[in-house]
Every structure is written in C-alpha cells, then in structure tokens.
C-alpha cells in the first residue's frame, strides 16, 4: 500500500482519538464497541468517543495502514459474527511507540522546567 511508504514520524503528533484507539488495540484485536469501552476504561471516562468519531478515525487509520481489519471471526455462539474486528498493523505499532516516546520526552521536559512533578 502506498501510504505505508510514509515513515512513522510523518503521522505525529496523533489526534487524541487516533492515539487512544491505537492504545486500545495494543493488547489485541477488538471490535468497535470494545475499543470504545477500553478507551473509556483507560481514561476513567474522561474520553468518551461517539460512533462518528470512532468510525471516522477507524476509516482514516485503515486508509493510512495503521490498523487492519481482522479476517478471523469469533465463534458466532460467543459473539455477533457481523461485528468487524480491528488490530494494529506493524506501522501502527511503530507510530504508537514513537508517539509515546514523544510524549515521554515532553513530560521529561516539563519535569526539568518544574511544570510537572512527575507524580499524579
């Protein structure tokens, strides 16, 4: 895919929605509602994405090669087989790592400037 020719750094900084979706998928594939729940859980309810934000971001992330749709369908007795599952692509994992490193550098800078103590 042509977009995959872009380096991970060209995607930075990520929008909050894209960053949270990548983070939600870091530990395995999930469907839309599971991503939404994971994001709400991770942020203690501070980030609540609506279906439009979720699927608008998913559309762009699929086009950019950050995530991919999983071909595996769960056992229909365990879950609704019509749901689409998404997982991190290799590029998405690299982008997530670089964005996290970028944020860590910013936090280190804030600590050096005594803007942030590093706790809480």
């Amino acid at each position: 895919m042509a977009e995959a020719a872009q380096g991970p750094e060209s995607f930075l900084p990520l929008t909050p929605a894209v960053f949270h979706i990548l983070l939600a998928l870091a530990d395995g594939e999930k469907h839309g509602y599971a991503i939404m729940q994971e994001v709400e859980g991770m942020t203690e309810g501070k980030v609540q994405m609506g279906p439009g934000t979720l699927y608008g971001s998913i559309k762009r992330m699929l086009a950019a090669g950050l995530i991919e749709e999983s071909d595996d369908r769960p056992d229909p007795t365990l879950d609704d087989e019509r749901r689409r599952y998404y997982r991190l692509a290799a590029l998405g994992r690299k982008v997530l790592r670089q964005e996290t490193e970028r944020m860590a550098e910013l936090m280190a800078l804030a600590r050096r400037k005594h803007v942030w103590s590093g706790v809480g």
Partner: protein
C-alpha cells in the same frame, strides 16, 4: 423489574432514530460504517439504559447528537477535498500526457524550420507556428501536470521528493515565462532553457526518489525517463557545439520522444492512481 419493560422499547426507538439520522453522513461512509455505528450505538444504549436509566439515556443522546453533527460535517468536508484532489490529480495526469505529445510534436516539427533566425512567416511558417503552439501549450500542461504530481504524491514522496517536484514546477513556470517573452527579450531564450533544464533535472532526481520509495504502484522509472534525456541532450549538444559540429536531427528526435514517453507513462499512472491519492489521517 420496571426498567426491563420500557428499556428495550426505548433502546429500539433510539436506535431507529439514530439509524435514520445516519443519513447525514456521505453515502459511501454510511454504506461502509453505518451498520457498525448503529450496532455500537445500540450497545451503548443498552449500557446507559441499564446503569444510567433515563438521565443516562438523555446524556447519551446529547453526546451522540454533538458527535453526529461534528463528524458528519467533517466527513462531508473530507469527501469534498478528496473528490477535488482526486479529480485534479486525474486531470493533471491527462494534462501531462497531452503536454508531452504537444511538446514532442512542437520540438520535432520545429526542427524542420530551415532558418531559426528569420521572422515568423514565409515558407517555414507552418513549422515555426507548430513549434511555438506545441511548446507553449505543452509547457502550460506540464506545469498543470507537475502541480498534480505535487498535490497527489507529496506525502508519499517524502520531504526531498516533495521539494524536487516543487522545484520542477518552478522550473516549468520559468521556462513558460521565457517562452512567452522570447520575441521581445533575449533573456527569453535563457529563461526557457534554464527553466527547462531545472524542471528536467529536478524530475530526474525525483525519479531516483520514486524508484527508491516506490511512489507509484508501477512504472516508477517514468519520472527518471521523463527527466534525464533533456539534460543529457543539453550536455551533448554543448560538447558538440564547442567542437564545431551539430547534434544530429535523429538524436534530437529520439531524445525528445524518450522524454515524451516518460511523461506519458507518468501522466498515465497519475490518472490511473488518482483515487488512491485522496487519503489523509486527520
């Protein structure tokens, strides 16, 4: 339980309204993601109905309405930008192909002009007018084609590739300007030649970038072929002139034809791949 009697009905009603409101999104987006969005909304409705009751459902509707308005506008804007970009890249691909044919025809027909310094008219009028019309129109179409290359492929080409295409566009504009003032100023020839040389050299180096980064799905050699021949012809011609000879007409025609083939291949790829250039991570 009291809630279990009204909750399913309110969920169904909410989902039905939400599904109806999905009409606000562009058709393609709705067809691709509408059922998934309705499914997610149904899941959230169930949760809010169970844990938040009526206030929870009201809050969900408030959030969802804002989300729907904001993202449907975003999707329409994005679709408009993508459509315009796709159309521009497609048409600029055709412009590049047409420009290549006109440029090559103008250069080759013009080479039959027996006297380069006589005023336009007389027995050579057909060759002279064909040359001017072909090259001027060709240059205009080159600039449009290269702008399309820049718009559609800048992100795939990296910062160096994007800068090289921009230099090629500037070279094309300078060359066109030189062509237009050629009759009134001696600088016109110099500007035309320097502009053409800049454009083709930039395209040559961009060709290397395209091959390395696999910018196009096929024919990544096309920009290199389109760019490399003119600078070589300039160099060889200057070398032959300094030793008192002249470049053969066949070598000139071959070189110009090779350039045109490169540009046609590049233009063809651009119009064929236009749809895939309209992607961005907002």
């Amino acid at each position: 339980m009291r809630e279990s009697r009204w909750a399913p009905a309110s969920i169904d009603f909410s989902v039905r309204i939400y599904t109806w409101l999905l009409a606000a999104y562009p058709g393609r987006f709705r067809a691709e993601y509408g059922p998934q969005m309705a499914q997610v909304f149904r899941d959230v409705c169930r949760r809010e109905s169970l844990h938040g009751g009526l206030p929870g459902m009201a809050a969900l509707w408030a959030r969802t309405s804002l989300d729907l308005v904001r993202t449907s506008v975003e999707e329409h804007i994005e679709r408009g930008i993508d459509m315009n970009r796709e159309k521009f890249v497609r048409w600029s691909g055709w412009a590049l192909m047409a420009g290549a044919v006109l440029f090559a025809a103008g250069m080759i027909i013009g080479s039959f002009d027996s006297n380069w310094s006589d005023p336009i008219g007389g027995v050579d009028a057909f060759y002279e007018i064909s040359q001017i019309v072909g090259i001027v129109l060709g240059q205009i179409l080159f600039v449009i084609g290269l702008l399309g290359l820049r718009v559609g492929y800048a992100s795939r080409s990296g910062s160096l590739g994007g800068a090289l295409v921009l230099i090629a566009v500037i070279g094309g504009v300078v060359s066109l300007g030189g062509m237009l003032i050629m009759n009134s100023s001696e600088l016109g020839w110099t500007a035309w030649a320097l502009g053409l040389l800049t454009m083709t050299l930039a395209l040559t180096v961009y060709g290397v970038v395209a091959i390395r980064r696999r910018v196009f799905s096929r024919w990544n050699f096309a920009p290199l072929l389109a760019g490399v021949v003119i600078p070589v012809l300039f160099g060889v011609s200057a070398g032959i002139d300094s030793s008192g000879g002249t470049l053969g007409d066949w070598a000139f025609a071959l070189g110009v034809s090779a350039t045109a083939v490169g540009l046609i291949l590049l233009g063809y790829r651009m119009q064929a791949e236009a749809a895939s250039t309209s992607q961005a991570l907002a």
